[in-house]
């Protein structure tokens, strides 16, 4: 089973920093997000795509986590050579995390 069974996600960007929100469909699944979607696991999942750090912020009142990834967008939207320069497709990679 992967995260996509119990949560949805959306990506934002600011400069070379990418953030991905991970939101439980059902707030009762929030503890499972806490348990499985740890910063080191997310960092490992993204591998070479994130050259900086992955920091996890917890928002229990929303049943959500926010991951902030530095040096993750090829230098930022204006100079990135990536097809998806904003990194909007990265949310679906996070949802592939095995739980």
């Amino acid at each position: 089973v992967t995260l996509r069974e119990i949560a949805h996600a959306r990506t934002g960007d600011k400069g070379d920093t990418c953030n991905i929100s991970l939101i439980a469909f059902d707030e009762r699944d929030y503890p499972r997000l806490l348990q499985h979607a740890t910063a080191p696991r997310v960092k490992a999942l993204f591998g070479g795509m994130v050259r900086g750090d992955v920091t996890r912020y917890e928002l229990p009142h929303l049943g959500a986590l926010n991951f902030v990834m530095t040096r993750a967008l090829g230098g930022g939207v204006t100079r990135s050579l990536a097809l998806d320069a904003h990194g909007k497709s990265l949310s679906t990679l996070l949802l592939d995390l095995e739980i």
Binding site: K14, G15, G47, G48, M49, G74, G76, V77, T78, R79, L81, A82, L83, D84, S89, L90, T92, L93
Partner: protein
């Protein structure tokens, strides 16, 4: 200003499409060396395979068609065009069956996040009552 980005794309389909796409990518890189273009940064993707999530997509089932995309940041506009043209040249000087080539060149505008002293920002708030 932060240089130029030159980009070229071309598609391959059918049996061996991925292998031909990879070969085409290698040809472009070798050609750029031969003509003395050394980009500040170069990126080559096969759209449909690894353009969005990197190598992770390579585990997937081989797609019927792929689109090679080579993009490079260069210091000069002319070098950016050379990158784009080397992809287009694959029509007649690359793996079989390349189609639908496209090229583009654009100038890169640099952006930088910064803070300004608070006293340099003037602001005001108006309250309007609506009956």
């Amino acid at each position: 200003m932060d240089g130029w980005i030159g980009e070229g794309q071309i598609s391959y389909a059918g049996e061996g499409a991925v292998a031909r796409g990879r070969l085409a990518s290698a040809i472009v890189k070798e050609r750029l060396q031969l003509i003395g273009v050394t980009p500040l940064e170069l990126r080559s993707d096969l759209i449909g395979l690894n353009a969005l999530h990197g190598d992770r997509g390579d585990r997937a089932v081989e797609p019927y068609e792929v689109r090679l995309r080579v993009a490079a940041r260069t210091t000069s506009r002319e070098d950016a065009w050379r990158v784009a043209r080397e992809v287009e040249s694959l029509y007649t000087n690359g793996p079989a069956g390349g189609g639908g080539a496209s090229t583009s060149v654009r100038q890169v505008l640099a952006m930088r996040s910064t803070l300004v002293p608070r006293d340099r920002v003037s602001w005001r708030v108006d309250y309007v009552s609506v009956p």
